[in-house]
């Protein structure tokens, strides 16, 4: 059983040295910071500057997460790539992040909630079971992503979108192109969800062209619709959404 092996190794492993943490930091900067942000402040993945990590409450769980990933999230397995020593070093560095001050998130979540409610956010997004279905459910978005990444999604939504929200434009002859989130695409069919929430099903016959927009989003940019202070409050609100515990 892999779990048992990990536990046994953890018990017998000597405490990490400063050199281990430094080696872990180097690996983290190269491979983990892409999602978790520099020094674990959070990005498209969650911040790791927490004393208790949701999926890794203890060291055994942390090493297991690094090795095998987390199903249903963007966390991939690294067990195929990192040696046992490297896994322990990255684990030691992540634990050291948990002892650093957590990231300060400026802004007022209450004002952010008011902005969220009076704007058109709810048309597309759901929080705690209420809202639209076009965009991702935001109920736990604050636990899943860092504040910088959330701000970027408001200002430049196409820069980085969550898995399952790839946008494509389908053109067929002289008909108006269909643009939307790719719900599913096989060799002969494509299903899109457009900005109104409508599902468009198109058969990929001759002359039908599918263009993926890997840097596109059907969410509008809020860079100019909200002031800088409003964006800060909205990010503070979104960061407070930790999902159902």
């Amino acid at each position: 059983m892999p779990g048992a092996t990990v536990a046994a190794q953890t018990k017998s492993a000597p405490p990490p040295t400063a050199a281990d943490i430094a080696a872990g930091k180097k690996l983290f900067a190269g491979q983990c910071a892409l999602c978790h942000g520099a020094e674990g402040v959070g990005g498209s993945g969650p911040t790791l500057r927490l004393s208790v990590l949701r999926h890794a409450p203890d060291d055994t769980a942390l090493l297991d997460v690094i090795r095998t990933g987390i199903n249903g999230t963007g966390m991939p397995p690294f067990g195929y790539a990192l040696s046992d020593r490297s896994v322990h070093q990255v684990g030691a560095y992540v634990r050291s992040l948990g002892r650093t001050p957590s990231v300060h998130i400026p802004g007022d979540p209450a004002r952010g909630l008011a902005i969220y409610q009076r704007s058109e956010c709810t048309v597309c997004h759901t929080i705690a079971g209420a809202g639209g279905v076009v965009g991702p459910d935001l109920s736990g978005i604050g636990a899943a992503r860092g504040p910088q990444s959330l701000r970027q999604s408001l200002v430049d939504p196409g820069a980085e979108h969550p898995p399952g929200y790839l946008v494509a434009t389908v053109t067929a002859g002289s008909a108006a192109p269909a643009r939307g989130i790719v719900i599913d695409e096989d060799v002969f069919w494509i299903h899109l969800r457009d900005s109104t929430g409508q599902v468009r099903t198109i058969r990929k016959t001759d002359g039908v062209r599918v263009e993926r927009d890997t840097k596109g989003s059907i969410m509008p940019s809020y860079a100019t619709r909200f002031s800088d202070a409003e964006l800060t409050d909205l990010v503070a609100y979104l960061s407070s959404l930790r999902g159902v515990q």
Partner: protein, 529 residues
Amino acid sequence: MKRTLTAATLLAVILLVPMQAQVTFSRIVAAPDGSGEWLTYSGSYRSIRFSPLKQISVENVARLRPAWVYQPPGAGTLETTPIVADGRMYITGPPNSVMALHLDSGRPLWKWSRPIARGASTLGFGRVNRGVALLGDKVYVGTIEGHLVALDARSGIERWDAAVADNTVGYAITGAPLAIDGKILVGISGGEAGVRGFLDAYDAATGKRLWRFWTIPEPGQPHAESWPREAWKHGGATTWLTGSYDPELKLVYWGTGNPGPWNGETREGDNLYSCSLLALDPETGTLKWHFQFTPHDVHDWDANQIPMLIDATVDGRERHLIATANRNGFLYLLDRATGEFVRGTAFAKQTWASGLDAHGRPLVLPDVEPNETGALVYPSLQGATNWGNPAYDPGSGLLVVPVREMGSLYFKAPAEYRAGTYYTGMSERSLMEEATGAIRAFDVKTGQQAWSFPLPSPPWAGVLSTAGGLVFGGSNEGNFFALDATTGKPLWQFQTGGGIEAGPMSYAADGKQYVAVAAGRALFVFALD
């Protein structure tokens, strides 16, 4: 097929049952163009996945319908290619099972399975099996635990069991063995666990090992200097897909996998015979020639892909060739008597080499080695093609290749050898959202692309060419489809509901042509309605 069970038809059915399964070596040699049988993993010793059957054609393929579906017990995606002989179909299921199916009913006449050992090691691959070999009255299959097992073809009863390799250090068998004249050749997996690769031959009757060819020379042997110090002991170069055989030249051709670890820092040199094609004398296991596609590979670009033995006029000369589409993105033609490089052209986007030199050695570009912050290189770690087999139509001279268009960021990390664990020191982050796939056809005479049929993601499925002017292929999204071999235009498709990670094949029974493919967890058999 509807049948009224009159006394006459009952008698016919009863008479069919005791038919002896005797697939002799000469029958495999003589039937490369098939009388409707499919006697080896790749359809023939030439491994070109071409069916001479033409009942299903460009004109009528739109009428193709499922005849029956079989779902083997146990969970997991099927990667098997059925073998059909003497009225039976032999398939394998994950992890360690073989079934003999009746061609009319689709029902199992026998099943053999061996529960996978607790804690069995599968480092770098799934708990899969790609098929059996057939010779005489026996069926041969490899197991995840590294055993080669001979079964009675009539009953599935075990005849012998040979321990090929030690699974606790990462060896396993996932590929189909190859039967040649009283011998069963079998390769092994484990290139991500730091094993030392080899190819074995066993006596088909007794299971006694006849020879072993180590794919990495030890000190004192030729090319040992292509490895520093002790690196050869854990250098990979595994043999996990099935090779081909030329009965006239009496040479067996087998591809080898990546050098270990992926991170190349501790193994300066060309690392022979990793990422190579080997030509061996099947009587003795002696190496006749080798060709290395990717010297000192650092991207996991195995050269295990199926070597197709083809005869064609190239540059005005009639030649006996090997065509192989490599994970590194190049499609190669080699002389199969000498291993001489004939031609190599890119068949997918690749950003690691400016081309190949006159001897076929890649001209490697700078900054393509994995680094600490990620080097972007095309193709991805899984390569521009993988175990999904290619096909060749000798009539049209078209080479058909399943193509994976994907790039990756390659990151390096320190690798450390510990028996029975990953020994890689490298990870990748694929550019999934832009990744696509294709089925591409190339004219063997010129190397020019004839057509390209787009797929929404990089495929794992193989392809089949038929004399009916068709190319069959599959997608990760479950589409099984037929293309016009001349134009690449789709003529028919069926949504199987499960990702296709196996190669299609075709056979005939009672004068009717069938096409079979494993999709998801089921085997589908199609015929004209």
